[in-house]
């Protein structure tokens, strides 16, 4: 019990004194996951819109498939990307393995299904009455699409936030593709919050793990607060 309390205390100390290593890991973690989220959103929102607005055979199956991929294990994504970018893989010549770029690719793929699926739900959640009203008010096709998206904006924002949450909290792909490398320069390093926690715990550096864990929770909290505030506006 005492050990945990002491560890917590020192962890808080590390955060308050803005320990350079803790700060670097946090910054890297946020940058990688944020980039992945932006890229995934740029793909998921248009794809989600196309799925929602078009009628085609097997639409239900496609949506079911996407929903199944919500639970995609992170290590599977890691493994999949690893096979492509490892030295022997088809994209090996790009020398991406164990770089932040590789982690961004992994996290993007990981959160694409959930963001696409939630975008589809967000758009289909826009009431038929709203759609009818838009048509009735004389919207062109483009005006119609833009305004349904606009009505669904908060739900889509929530989809993006869920994506970011999954990206920053996953460990499987990050460790497989990043390798948890501790290097001198910021961008050669691939240690992020989750991988660092996993490593530091295994070597008994509990206070650092706890500090990083607290930060991870704080990031989640801040994102959540932001989303709620925007939704209530």
């Amino acid at each position: 019990m005492n050990e945990i309390a002491e560890g917590l205390l020192r962890a808080v100390g590390l955060i308050i004194t803005m320990n350079p290593e803790v700060m670097a890991i946090t910054a890297r973690s946020i940058m990688i996951s944020f980039t992945a989220t932006v890229i995934a959103a740029l793909i998921a929102i248009p794809v989600g819109a196309v799925i929602n607005f078009s009628e085609f055979r097997g639409k239900k199956t496609v949506i079911n498939l996407i929903q199944t991929l919500y639970a995609l294990p992170t290590v599977i994504v890691g493994l999949f990307v690893f096979l492509f970018i490892s030295r022997a893989g088809p994209l090996g010549f790009l020398r991406l393995l164990f770089t932040p770029t590789a982690m961004i690719i992994g996290q993007t793929l990981l959160i694409l299904p959930i963001m696409t699926g939630l975008t589809v739900s967000a758009l289909s959640g826009v009431d038929q009455a709203i759609r009818d009203t838009l048509h009735s008010l004389g919207a062109t096709k483009v005006q119609f699409l833009a305004n349904v998206l606009k009505e669904a904006r908060f739900a889509i924002l929530a989809a993006v936030a869920v994506g970011f949450g999954r990206a920053i909290s996953e460990v499987g792909a990050a460790i497989l593709l990043g390798g948890n490398i501790r290097a001198a320069s910021f961008w050669s390093s691939t240690r992020v919050l989750t991988t660092a926690i996993s490593l530091e715990t295994s070597v008994g550096n509990i206070e650092l793990s706890l500090a990083l864990g607290i930060i991870l929770l704080l990031v989640a909290l801040v994102v959540n607060l932001l989303v709620t505030t925007i939704q209530q506006r």
Binding site: D132, T133, L134, H135, S136, L137, A139, T140, E151
Partner: protein, 359 residues
């Protein structure tokens, strides 16, 4: 002018509209009345191009609006529609009303002026910056009406605009409907299941029963001379009695209703099965046949039920067939009516509206 020509709408196995025909003149207020599920909304949606008919045509000023998809937007922009459940966009009242104008590329300055004016017309001055979702149902419906109005449509379609509103909000909306019609000459097609609202607002009423127009006419025609039993029942005629014409002498017929001989004015000839429609307020009650009464129909009967109904008392009298009569409380007290009281009912031959019974 809107012309509805032989319109059918089929959803799966069910025809929700069957051979609907009507002409609606420019500047007219035309009410569609009928029970829920009779097809009123479906018809309005067809006119607003939200759905296409399975057969038949909707002509607006002679143009078949569903024929040419490239003109769909142009036709739709000549109309406005207010839905039963007011759908407001998740933004301010001002932005909500601006939607149709923005779609039409109206300059921002003109939008501002229009909305300022319309907010005062609908009695929501100072509400421009409020979030529309925070409004009450009646306020939302006024916003929806304003939103349709500001685009200055030739035709305004309203689908049960007051169905979920309290009486005060209903009155406000009804006043606005009148005003829009008078000031802008807007043609208004309004669906309602409230026949009294139809009577208050409309110049002509179409009674919709089971997907088709049972009767089209002025409110007076509909309420005084319903064309058949269903219309009679829907417009609130409580006494609908089945019978057979026994003889007809120059338009005064004797009709056998469960063994009682009722005299009525009708051209229908001997042997025709009929329904007699008698308004409860046309029935007089007394304890004996009044001397010198001109009423041709006088029957002894017995009161079988008494129920208060607002300021009136509703009596059910058995005189061979059951008749409902409405009298004031005071009259009920003076007559001293009770269940089981023997009483004489009388009504004029001209108070009986005879329709052929086709069932």
């Amino acid at each position: 002018m809107i012309e509805l020509q032989g319109i059918y709408k089929r959803f799966g196995e069910k025809d929700v509209l069957r051979d609907v025909n009507a002409r609606i003149a420019d500047g007219e207020i035309f009410a569609l009345i009928g029970p829920s599920g009779s097809g009123k909304s479906s018809l309005l949606r067809l006119i607003n191009l939200l759905d296409a008919p399975s057969a038949g045509r909707v002509l607006v000023d002679g143009v078949d609006i569903h024929a040419d998809r490239s003109r769909e937007l142009e036709m739709r922009r000549r109309m406005g529609m207010v839905f039963q459940k007011p759908a407001v966009f998740n933004t301010t009242v001002y932005e909500n009303i601006a939607y149709g104008l923005r779609f039409r590329g109206v300059p921002e300055r003109a939008i501002r002026e229009t909305i300022r004016d319309v907010l005062s017309v609908i009695g929501l001055e100072g509400y421009g910056k409020r979030r529309a979702k925070t409004l009450s149902g009646g306020e939302m419906q006024r916003v929806a009406l304003a939103r349709a109005m500001v685009t200055d449509p030739d035709i305004l379609l309203m689908d049960e605009p007051t169905a979920n509103l309290d009486p005060v909000s209903t009155e406000t909306i009804e006043r606005l409907v009148h005003r829009i019609n008078r000031e802008f000459g807007t043609t208004i097609v309004l669906a309602t299941h409230d026949m009294v609202q139809g009577q208050r607002l409309a110049e002509r009423i179409a009674v919709m029963m089971d997907g088709t127009f049972s009767q089209v006419g002025t409110p007076r025609e509909i309420f005084a001379l319903p064309k058949d039993r269903d219309v009679a029942r829907f417009v609130g005629i409580e006494n609908i009695i089945e019978g057979v014409v026994e003889s007809n002498d120059g338009g005064i017929a004797v009709i056998d209703a469960s063994g009682v001989r009722v005299e009525a004015v009708t051209p229908l000839q001997t042997g025709v099965k009929v329904c007699l429609c008698i308004r409860p307020e046309d029935i007089t009650l007394g304890y004996a046949r009044k001397a010198g009464t001109s009423a041709r129909n006088v029957f002894p009967g017995k009161i079988v039920a008494i129920r208060p109904l607002g300021p009136l008392t509703r009596l059910v009298i058995d005189c061979g067939f059951e008749l409902v009569s409405l009298i004031t409380w005071k009259a009920a007290e003076e007559l001293g009516v009770q269940e089981g009281t023997e009483i004489v009912v009388s009504f004029k031959a001209s108070a009986v509206h005879v329709v052929q019974d086709r069932t």
